[in-house]
C-alpha cells in the first residue's frame, strides 16, 4: 500500500511543480490539465483507500517512508497513518479540491496568474494530504506550516491589491501565534512521552493522566497543558475566537480559494487534529472543557457578526467561523465522530455556498456587496437552486446533510457533563437561530427582492458556464443525501473503528446511539425538538425583515445603534489585533532601539555630557563626525565590563 499512499501524496505535488516551473511552456490548458489530472488520480486512489478501509475492513496502516534523522533516541520521520479517520479526510480533501480545480477553470479564466494559481492549489492539496496522512507530530507540524504558507500565498494572490497583502500578512501573523502554541504543545508531548510517533504518544497518554509540570511555583496537569497548547495551534488554523480575525480578511483571495482552503479543508485541520489526538485529549479533561468553551463562544458570537455584513463572501466566512465553532464543541464534548461528520457535511455545503457566491460574483463582474444584488433568481437558475440546497443544509433543515450532523452534535452535547457544557449548550442552540437568520438574510438579499444592481450590470447578467455550475451541482448532491446513509455508521456506528478513542465515561455518542433507530426516526425526532423550530423561526424572521418589511432592518439598526456598532466592528477584535497589539509591539521595538542603542549607548554613555541643550542636533552631528571613536569606545567599554565582571563575579579571585 505504501506506493499507493505515495502516489496519492506525490501526484498533486508533481502537478504543482510542473505547473509552477514550466507554466509558461505548457500554457494555460496544460497547467489546468496537469493539475486536475494530478488531483483526480489522488482523489480516485483516496476513494479506493477509503473503500478498502471501510468496506473491506482492512486494518489501519502505519508505514514509515523515510527516517529523516534520529537524535537523542527521538525518531523524526515521514510516514503515513492511514485509518478510517484519515481516509475520510483524504477523500474530503481531494474531492473538494478536484471540484475547485474544475471550477477555477471558469473562475480564473481571465486572470494573468492562471498557471501560478493552479500550481498553488495543487501544492495546497499536497500539503493538506501530508498533514492528514501523517503518522507523527513532526510531519503534522510540517503539513500544518505548509498549508499555512500556501494559504498565505493564495490570500495574497492578487498582490497588487493592498488589502490582499494586508490580509495575507495578517493571516500569517495570527497563525504564527497559534503555531507557537502548537509547537510548544508538540514539545511538551515530546518531553512527556519521549516520542513524536502517534502510536507511542497515544500509548503513553493514559499513564500520564496525573503527571504535572512545574511552572514557576505552580503545578499544572501536564497533559492538559500540552493539549491546550496544541489546541491554541488549532485555534489559529481553525480560526477560533480570539484568533479568528484573519479568516474574514482572507476572503481577499480568489473565491475558489475561500471555498477550498478557508471553508472546506485547511480551517478544519484544527478539528481534525483534535480528533486525531483524541486518545490524548481524552485524558485531559481541562483541555476538553477549554475546547468546548472556545468552540461555543466562536459558534455564537461570530454568527452574530454575520448578521451585519453586506459583503456576500464575508457572510459566508463568518458562517464558516460559526460552524467551525460547532465542530469544536463536538470535539470538546468528546463527540469526535459527530464533529468529524459535521466537518464532512460542512465541507460539501460550505464549499457549495462559496462557489455559488463566486458564481454570483462573476456574474456581477466582481461585485460583492449584497446591497447591489437582488432578484437574481430568474437570471441564474442553477446557482439559485444549488444555493438554496446549500442554505437549507447550513441551517439544518430536516432531511439535508446539515440537519443530521448538526442535530447529532447538539444532542450529543446535551448529554455531556464536563465543565462548561451548560454554557456551550446555550450558545449552540441560540446559534441555530442566528445561523438561519443570517443565512436566509443573505439568500433573500441576493436572489429575491428588487434588483438593485445598475442597468449596465443587469444587461450582462447570465448563468455561469458549465465548468462553474457542474461543481455546484456535484456538491449539491452530497449536501442533500449524505446524511441519509452516513449518519448511522459515521456517528453512531463503528465507522471510525479504533481511529478515535473515547473513554467510557465521556461517551455521549454511545448513549445517544441507544436511541438511534435509523435516519427516518431521527428525522421525526427532529420535529419534536425546539432546535428545528429555532431554525425555521430564524428563516422566517429573515423573510419578514428582508422581503416583507425591508425598512425594518434600518430602523432596528438605529434603535440598537450600540449593539450594531459592536457587531459591525466585530467586537473590536480587529482593532485590537491590528492597532493595539502591533502598536505595542512596534513601540516596544522602537523603544528598544531608542533606549538601547541611541539613548543608552550613544546618548547615555557617549554623549552623556550633551544632555541638556541642543540635544538632538548635537547628537546627530557628533554621531557623524565621531563615529569611529564611538565604535572604539564601545569596544573598550565592553572589554572593561567583561574583565570587571570576571574579577568580581562570585567564585572569582
Amino acid at each position: 500500500m505504501e506506493s499507493t499512499y505515495l502516489a496519492i501524496v506525490l501526484s498533486p505535488l508533481a502537478a504543482a511543480l510542473i505547473a509552477g516551473l514550466f507554466g509558461r511552456r505548457i500554457g494555460r490548458a496544460g497547467a489546468h490539465s496537469v493539475t486536475i489530472l494530478g488531483v483526480a488520480v489522488s482523489c480516485a486512489l483516496s476513494a479506493a483507500v477509503l473503500w478498502r478501509q471501510v468496506v473491506d475492513g482492512a486494518p489501519a496502516d502505519n508505514v514509515s517512508v523515510y527516517t529523516w534523522l534520529v537524535t537523542d533516541g527521538v525518531r523524526m520521520e515521514i510516514g503515513f497513518l492511514v485509518d478510517r479517520l484519515s481516509a475520510l479526510m483524504m477523500v474530503v480533501v481531494t474531492f473538494v479540491s478536484l471540484m475547485v480545480h474544475v471550477y477555477s477553470i471558469g473562475y480564473m479564466h481571465d486572470d494573468a496568474g492562471y498557471q501560478r494559481f493552479f500550481s498553488y492549489i495543487s501544492l495546497f492539496t499536497f500539503s493538506m494530504l501530508m498533514l492528514v496522512m501523517s503518522n507523527n507530530l513532526l510531519q503534522l507540524f510540517f503539513g500544518w506550516e505548509a498549508v499555512g504558507v500556501v494559504s498565505y500565498l493564495l490570500i495574497g494572490f492578487w498582490y497588487t491589491r493592498p488589502s490582499a497583502i494586508f490580509a495575507n500578512l495578517k493571516a500569517f501573523l495570527v497563525n504564527r501565534i497559534g503555531d507557537f502554541g502548537f509547537l510548544l504543545g508538540i514539545a511538551a508531548l515530546l518531553y512527556l512521552t519521549g516520542s513524536l510517533d502517534y502510536r507511542e504518544v497515544f500509548a503513553a497518554a493514559p499513564g500520564l493522566q496525573d503527571a504535572t509540570i512545574d511552572v514557576g511555583s505552580w503545578q499544572w496537569p501536564a497533559l492538559s497543558m500540552a493539549c491546550i497548547l496544541l489546541f491554541i495551534g488549532a485555534m489559529g488554523k481553525s480560526a477560533q475566537v480570539p484568533l479568528h480575525v484573519w479568516l474574514p480578511d482572507s476572503m481577499e483571495g480568489p473565491t475558489p480559494i475561500s471555498a477550498l482552503i478557508h471553508a472546506a479543508t485547511m480551517v478544519t485541520a484544527g478539528v481534525f487534529m483534535v480528533a486525531r489526538m483524541s486518545p490524548v485529549f481524552e485524558y485531559a479533561e481541562a483541555a476538553l472543557s477549554f475546547v468546548l468553551v472556545i468552540g461555543a463562544i466562536t459558534a455564537l458570537f461570530t454568527g452574530l457578526i454575520a448578521l451585519v455584513q453586506f459583503d456576500i463572501k464575508r457572510v459566508v466566512a463568518y458562517s464558516t467561523l460559526s460552524q467551525l465553532g460547532y465542530m469544536m464543541v463536538a470535539q470538546g464534548a468528546s463527540a469526535y465522530a459527530a464533529g468529524m461528520f459535521h466537518l464532512t457535511t460542512h465541507a460539501f455545503f460550505k464549499a457549495l455556498l462559496f462557489l455559488a457566491a463566486g458564481s454570483v460574483i462573476i456574474a456581477l463582474h466582481h461585485e460583492q456587496d449584497m446591497r447591489r444584488m437582488g432578484g437574481l433568481r430568474k437570471y441564474m437558475p442553477v446557482t439559485y437552486w444549488t444555493s438554496l440546497v446549500g442554505c437549507l443544509a447550513l441551517i439544518g433543515f430536516p432531511g439535508f446533510a446539515g440537519f443530521f450532523s448538526k442535530d447529532a452534535l447538539i444532542e450529543a452535547e446535551d448529554l455531556s457533563r464536563i465543565a462548561g457544557a451548560g454554557f456551550a449548550e446555550f450558545c449552540i442552540v441560540a446559534g441555530v437561530f442566528i445561523t438561519a437568520l443570517y443565512t436566509f438574510r443573505m439568500f433573500f438579499l441576493v436572489f429575491h427582492g428588487p434588483e438593485r444592481m445598475d442597468a449596465e450590470a443587469r444587461s450582462h447578467l447570465h448563468e455561469s458556464p458549465w465548468v462553474v455550475t457542474l461543481p455546484l451541482v456535484l456538491l449539491a448532491i452530497p449536501s442533500v443525501i449524505v446524511g441519509w446513509f452516513a449518519t448511522g455508521p459515521l456517528v453512531f456506528g463503528d465507522f471510525f473503528g479504533d481511529s478515535l478513542y473515547v473513554r467510557p465515561e465521556h461517551d455521549v455518542l454511545a448513549r445517544l446511539g441507544e436511541e438511534w433507530h435509523g435516519p427516518m426516526s431521527f428525522l421525526v425526532h427532529g420535529f419534536q425538538s425546539p432546535v428545528l423550530y429555532l431554525a425555521l423561526g430564524g428563516a422566517a424572521v429573515a423573510w419578514f425583515l428582508y422581503l416583507r418589511q425591508p425598512h425594518l432592518p434600518d430602523q432596528l439598526r438605529d434603535r440598537f445603534g450600540a449593539v450594531y456598532r459592536l457587531l459591525e466592528n466585530k467586537y473590536y477584535a480587529d482593532w485590537l489585533a491590528e492597532r493595539v497589539i502591533p502598536a505595542a509591539g512596534r513601540a516596544m521595538g522602537g523603544a528598544f532601539w531608542r533606549v538601547g542603542d541611541v539613548t543608552l549607548i550613544d546618548g547615555g554613555l557617549v554623549n552623556g555630557s550633551a544632555r541638556v541643550v541642543g540635544w538632538g542636533a548635537a547628537l546627530i552631528r557628533r554621531l557623524q563626525t565621531g563615529y569611529l571613536y564611538h565604535y572604539a569606545f564601545a569596544m573598550v567599554i565592553g572589554l572593561a565590563l567583561l574583565a570587571g565582571w570576571l574579577l568580581i563575579r562570585p567564585g572569582g579571585s
Partner: protein, 200 residues
C-alpha cells in the same frame, strides 16, 4: 642594586614619554616622545640581556619607522586642535573607563597568582653566550613556521599597499621612459620640402 635603580629610572622615563606622546599638542613633539620611549625600552631590553633585540629596536624603529612617521606628520600638517575638540568633553567619561581598566589590570598585580610559574627568576648567562646566535637558532628551527608566515604577511602587506596606492589616473602627465626611448625619428620630425625664400 644599580640594576634596580636603572630599571625604575628608565621605567619612569618610559611612562612619562609615553604620556607625552598622547598629550603633546604638537604632532612632531609627539613623534619625538615616541622615539624617546623606544630608546628607553631598548635600554630596558639591554638590562634583560636581550642585546640583539635592543639594537634592532633602535635600528628599525628609531632609525627607519620613526623617520618615516616624521615625514608623514610634517607632510600632512595635521590640525590637532580640531581633532582634540571633543577630547575635553568626553574626558571625564574616558577617565572613568580608563580608571576601571587600570584597576582591573592592577588587580593582576594585587592578587598574587599562586599556582603559576610566573615568578621564576632567570639565571644570568655566561659572558660568551651569543644572544644573536640563539635567537637565530630559535627562529630557524623552532619557530620556522611562524617565520615563514611572517614572510608571507610582509608580502601581503606589500601587495596590499600597492593595490591601494598605485593607480593610473587618466590625464596624468607622467613620462613613459620606454616610449621615449623607443620613439623613432619619423614619429617626431617631419621634413617638409619648400622653396627657399628670397629676400626682396
Amino acid at each position: 642594586m644599580a640594576g634596580t635603580l636603572f630599571f625604575y629610572t628608565l621605567s619612569a622615563v618610559l611612562i612619562a614619554s609615553a604620556l607625552g606622546v598622547i598629550t603633546a599638542r604638537n604632532p612632531v613633539h609627539a613623534v619625538l616622545f615616541l622615539v624617546l620611549s623606544f630608546v628607553t625600552s631598548s635600554v630596558l631590553w639591554l638590562l634583560l640581556e636581550a642585546e640583539f633585540l635592543a639594537v634592532v629596536l633602535v635600528l628599525v624603529y628609531v632609525g627607519a619607522v620613526m623617520v618615516l612617521f616624521l615625514f608623514v606628520v610634517m607632510m600632512l600638517d595635521v590640525n590637532v586642535a580640531q581633532l582634540r575638540e571633543g577630547f575635553t568633553r568626553y574626558a571625564w567619561l574616558g577617565a572613568v573607563v580608563a580608571a576601571v581598566l587600570a584597576a582591573e589590570l592592577l588587580a593582576i598585580v594585587w592578587w598574587k597568582p599562586d599556582g603559576l610559574p610566573m615568578a621564576a627568576t632567570t639565571t644570568p648567562r655566561p659572558a660568551d653566550y651569543s644572544n644573536t646566535e640563539m635567537l637565530g637558532t630559535a627562529l630557524y628551527t623552532e619557530h620556522l613556521f611562524a617565520f615563514e608566515l611572517a614572510a608571507f604577511l610582509l608580502l601581503l602587506a606589500i601587495v596590499a599597499a600597492i593595490v591601494l596606492t598605485m593607480r593610473r589616473r587618466p590625464g596624468l602627465k607622467a613620462q613613459d621612459v620606454s616610449r621615449q626611448v623607443a620613439v623613432r625619428r619619423e614619429d617626431r620630425v617631419r621634413l617638409v620640402q619648400m622653396k627657399a625664400e628670397h629676400d626682396t
